[in-house]
Symmetry: C2
Subunit: 773 residues, 2 copies
């Protein structure tokens, strides 16, 4: 755990430069606009330790799989959103000496990410070996108002000398990924050109043949006046630059405004790419940095208006939750259903920037509540469009009749992951994708989604489950053998409770959806039956038999559902009894020791109890929480939020807050020592859930909003906003008091602390928890 980020309500601030934390800061101070992301690498040259990264949504390379021992069914490649053209680069020489924070003497350094406005800035003073001192101020953003554009304002002031300063804005496409499996470079050059202060580099990815054109344009000023010196252009492989050597006197300030545009063959014909990159550059150049920033900032203010969470009385918590919301919004705009949310967003190479079940399980609720329904629908459509690939995937593994198994990791619907215990066995993901359909329909009330889209996804998944079970003559029950649950510290187990539960739930839900579509959309239903060769009677008959006879591992004495068969054979020592030096076990223990231990990486049995809390009594929830929580090591970033919400549900309020703390500042404090790899973007959705669903107790049941808020002891108040079926609502929770404002033109029925109300349109109402009798 680190503690170097200065606490502030709206800003992330680093004072003083710590080269040893540079990769961490590069992750934390990342900027993005859903279309593209950029780690907080420096504009000027930096020879110290750094992970350079600029990533473009949807632009990936299928990196040939690397395995020790091949297993039948492994995918051929791992898709990776790859590092692309360095668009931020501005080389600076001061009297011939390179400005490089790894070699100069740093007199002061401040880095700041203004989350309210979406602006990254730096201000630093350095001294060169010859005694020359400069002050540098840089600002940059990736516009969310014009998502093809990024802008930089970079100023160098001569503090104590006269002489010359050279500035050289450039584009460099000769980049690599640190995680390239075979040390390949992924880009080939298509075209490059530069004239004066405007240039373009067009590259193509190997194999996938995506083309990306990056454009740049810059203006330079001395003390605010245009610099007339004609730039010297340079061209190298995949590289263009334009340099100016400017004479300066002590006190002079040299400023470069650099605009970059990024356009891709996903959106434009390759022949016109550079034309469109030039158009974006033109737009930017006309608005100038300040104009571009003004519209960008205005959009951010608007985003915050609808999705901010305000916490009073705890600046660290406030900074934490805003950072999570900010980074989620930077990673995914939801405007393009071809894209999704990588576990690290655009902040690093790990997990390849591609899609996991994280999206459905941890991110969807955030987008359901804070963005228009279209955005969550796009997340669902992403999977709908991949259905043919999920069917192909299942077929490759030996399933028939258009059963669908969604991949564990994917960008285009094909499986990318290659550990058998995950790839082939972590099949609960298929349940999470079915659950997302339910979650979307339940929250939005948009049942119509089921007919043209949801039904088919559910049918494919149900067919998978119905083939994946087998009948145990021994148990006279259906069993599911050889799986890995969400807890990846158990592999190839039999009858994982969560997996069996998801299977049965999916079958039940699909039966209901079939009834609905059949009644409401009879013609479409006929069409779907033909398309899917769906033998309703026979197939649903089998499903019902499975629903009625599924086996769940259960201990009668303890009245406990067991995580899997044989779980009670383990030595059930609570985590708190382990020597501190043994934690985290995934770094300290051999893999086999982890596997035979009872320790749980992330919510597993409790994951289904969270999703289906209404199917269990509070006593049951408590009993299972009391059993599993002490055995849970939370070594996945996705774990504490679920425990936090469950703890709140069963009244363990202090525990709920403790668990929340483990997620809220995970990256800001580098809690797991891995933020250098990138931020835990998808777990940020979980942090949001912990506040809104945990502390706020927000649910949607039978088309009604339910609230059961409490406030953590340390806080004065907290305020969150949600969109619900056309209404925009703001909830402010104080001690024993809930103030709800309905900003919209519709009245909203809701349940607060167990009592039913109707919240009138355009009104504010106060609810009091304690009744004085």
């Amino acid at each position: 755990m680190k503690d170097y980020i200065i606490h502030h309500e709206w800003k992330i601030i680093e004072e003083g430069f710590r080269p040893e934390y540079n990769r961490i800061s590069e992750s934390i101070f990342s900027i993005g606009n859903g279309n593209m992301g950029q780690r907080a690498n420096f504009e000027e040259h930096y020879s110290g330790d750094s992970l350079r990264g600029a990533y473009i949504a949807g632009i990936y390379y299928p990196d040939k799989t690397r395995v020790g021992w091949w297993k039948n069914g492994y995918p051929e490649y791992f898709a990776k959103i790859i590092n692309s053209t360095n668009w931020i680069g501005i080389r600076v020489l001061v009297n011939g000496q390179e400005l490089d924070l790894a070699t100069v003497k740093i007199l002061s350094f401040r880095r700041e990410l203004n989350m309210r406005h979406g602006l990254l800035s730096r201000l630093f003073r350095v001294e060169f070996s010859n005694g020359n001192q400069v002050e540098v101020e840089s600002e940059r953003f990736l516009s969310i108002a014009d998502r093809e554009v990024g802008a930089i304002k970079y100023s160098v002031k001569a503090l104590n000398f006269s002489g010359e300063i050279s500035v050289t804005p450039y584009l460099d496409g000769d980049v690599f990924n640190e995680d390239s499996n075979y040390d390949e470079k992924f880009w080939v050059e298509i075209h490059k050109e530069i004239q004066k202060n405007e240039g373009y580099v067009t590259l193509e990815t190997r194999k996938t043949k995506f083309q990306v054109c990056t454009g740049m344009f810059f203006r330079s000023f001395k003390n605010g006046e245009n610099i007339a010196i004609p730039p010297q252009n340079k061209i190298q492989p995949k590289f263009i630059s334009a340099g100016q050597v400017v004479p300066v006197k002590e006190g002079d300030t040299l400023t470069v405004e650099k605009y970059a545009s990024t356009v891709t063959s996903l959106n434009y014909p390759v022949k016109k790419l550079q034309g469109f990159a030039a158009k974006a550059i033109q737009r930017a150049a006309e608005k100038r940095f300040d104009g571009l920033f003004a519209e960008h900032k205005q959009k951010w203010l608007n985003e915050w208006k609808f999705s901010d969470i305000k916490i009073e009385g705890d600046v660290a918590a406030q900074q934490g939750i805003r950072f999570n919301i900010f980074q989620l919004k930077q990673s995914y705009s939801g405007e393009d259903e071809r894209f999704n949310i990588g576990p690290k967003g655009f902040t690093g190479e790990k997990y390849g920037g591609v899609t996991y079940w994280d999206t459905e399980a941890y991110c969807l609720p955030f987008y359901l509540s804070t963005a228009s329904g279209e955005i969550s629908k796009n997340l669902l459509l992403y999977r709908y469009k991949h259905l043919p690939k999920a069917i192909e995937n299942a077929k490759n593994l030996g399933f028939a009749n258009q059963a669908a198994l969604y991949p564990m990791v994917t960008i285009n619907g094909e499986e990318c992951h290659n550990e058998w215990e995950i790839t082939f066995e972590e099949i609960h993901r298929n349940g999470a994708i079915a659950y997302a359909v339910y979650n979307y329909v339940n929250y939005t009330g948009n049942k119509e989604y089921l007919a043209p889209y949801g039904f088919e996804v559910l049918l494919g998944i149900s067919r998978f489950w119905s083939q994946r079970v087998n009948w145990s003559e021994e148990k006279k029950k259906y069993v599911i053998l050889g799986v890995t649950g969400p807890n990846e510290y158990e592999n190839n187990v039999n009858n994982n409770f969560h997996t069996n539960y998801m299977a049965v739930w999916t079958l039940k839900y699909t039966l209901g959806v079939i009834r609905y579509v059949k009644v409401e959309f009879p013609y479409l239903f006929e069409e779907l039956i033909r398309k899917w060769k769906f033998n309703e009677l026979k197939e649903t008959g089998k499903w019902k038999d499975i629903i009625d006879h599924m086996y769940f591992p259960f201990d009668g004495e303890k009245q406990l559902y067991l995580q899997q068969d044989g779980f009670l054979d383990k030595e059930l020592l609570p985590v708190s009894k382990l020597p501190k030096s043994d934690l985290p076990i995934n770094q300290k223990w051999s893999w086999d020791r982890i596997l035979r231990s009872p320790y749980i990486k992330q919510a597993d049995t409790l994951q289904s109890m969270f999703w289906f809390e209404n199917e269990f009594t509070k006593d049951e929830l408590k009993r299972h929480f009391d059993f599993y929580e002490p055995l849970t090591v939370h070594e996945s970033s996705l774990s504490p939020c679920i425990h936090s919400i469950l703890a709140a549900k069963i009244g363990y309020l202090e525990k709920s807050y403790q668990m929340y703390l483990r997620t809220a500042r995970l990256d800001l404090d580098d809690y797991n020592n891995d933020t250098d790899d990138g931020l835990h973007i998808t777990s940020m959705g979980g942090t949001w859930m912990a506040i809104v669903m945990g502390f706020g107790g927000l649910r949607v049941v039978n088309d009604k909003l339910i609230l059961n808020p409490f406030i953590p002891g340390k806080w004065k108040s907290y305020t969150f906003r949600v969109d619900f079926r056309g209404a925009h609502l703001c909830f402010e929770i104080k001690k024993d008091q809930l103030i709800i404002t309905n900003f919209s033109a519709v009245s909203v029925p809701l349940v607060v602390w167990g009592d039913e109300y109707v919240l009138n349109k355009k009104s504010k109402q106060e609810f009091i928890k304690e009744i004085i009798e």
Copy 2:
């Protein structure tokens, strides 16, 4: 399955050249002398598909591990016995045209491996594009009389032309391994030189720094007369050659006798390597090809005298068993306790030429019975010397108190394998290594081995088991969680019967050994107690508790020990009911499907029933065989032999013979489509066991030899020989008749078909099975 090898009692014969089978033939026709092995690559240049391979015992490279996803505890490298200097090369040009079987027209081709004499030969006629025809005859062997020496006699006859033939013997160390993880070359050049017809290449392995000097010397003759033309020498990186261009007339025969020597820094100081290589060359040159061959052949005749198995009435079976014995003897001479037996011997790159539990489980019995006791003792000492590494290995995985876990795969005692489910979990290997100690002592009667060596190995292994179990509160028994049994089609299972059984057996046996050493070697025992900080009372107390309370999965209704917990939950469809097109499942099914199926790769529960047959009733053995055999796919070469022996034991004689057939000609007929990779050397020990222990029913119980022979229906008779405690015995089995010859000066007590006898020294006795009453 292929069927192109011509059946012959003593020879392996290929008539006609099949380039598509070339890699298979290169494996089958391999020669070796325990110190070195050479695939049947051609002496002359060959541009067709080929796996070149010359391997030297103990000379390995630690190839950096390649994994998809790293797990704590994985080894850094995989040790590989590597392809080394090509010593067989003789380039041939006929009137300027390259002799290359991939480009010339082949008129006739015969390849022959004379197993009786240990000689590989070829005879072929080819025609060049210009119509020139030559006949080539080549003979080569790696001497088992002088294991540093190989010799080649290579003749080219001009059949229909006059002109010139150029022959260029060479040494080429610029070789590579196909299975190099990172496409590296493993050798660097130290020195090379050539003068006239004698030259040397000295290379060093990267990282491990082994040095190998290869020398060559040749003489050439035209129609038997020395050729006086001075050779033209050439030197290239890691390469030397000496060429002669010889004018020939139609009918002339050009002959090259090439001798090569291979000496290594394992045996000599590096500075003197070339000197010793030169000495070996001198020895060879003095004896000439014929002299060298005469002593080599004599040694082979002698080997056969003591270890041949003769089968009358079935040439295919005769060829099969002799091939197995021949290749085993070629792979391991047993003279050097630093060496061991790789699963592919020196016949290919697969499995890296390093050591698996195969040695203890499948090879030891062969060497116990057919070679001097020293050889099997050397195999045991190999593990004894690796004990410190096994302790280190266990420590790395979290075990304490000098517990020992032998690696799954090793060359120097360190683990090489990197699949967690094998590396960390296939721990029954530790039991196999303990069992080998028992097996050796039981067979040889050499109990003294236990005090200085066996005790420590057993103590380390017993300590491992005592920590690897855990107490199940649920079962009130000790359990062993998270293992992989011999059946690698199950991973990470709980309470694998075989593993639990081996654990308990090891503890019991170790208790007995402790009593023995304590009583017989009290001073040594005291020393060992101090060395091992052995708390006898406490530690053996725990062991006894484990012995008394170990859990074994058992089904009361079926009266069956189960392969592991939950085995009866599977769909128990016999293999015979699977569509033929689904077999072999390891090529046709995805890995997850295999895992959740009931199909057994190789004897697992039946492995312990084989080893401990006396601890089960015949009914029990039958019941378990009847249950497990129909579920066994035998997709490991190590499987059928065990089933064959068990089948014989319980009286399933036809089944026993069927199982035998699957192992005897495995490589000759390329049964599993993988002989191109190399031969299944270690499974050849199993084939021998199937005849001697299966058909012959040979056992040693309470210091007595036991025989229960039967003869497969098709055979007229079979004869095998064993050494037993100083006696050399020959058993000839005919229908209902057993003739035993005791060639030695000691009388031997034995049990034949249940009756006790004493076999007098230097005598022959006939036993009749059927009693006429």
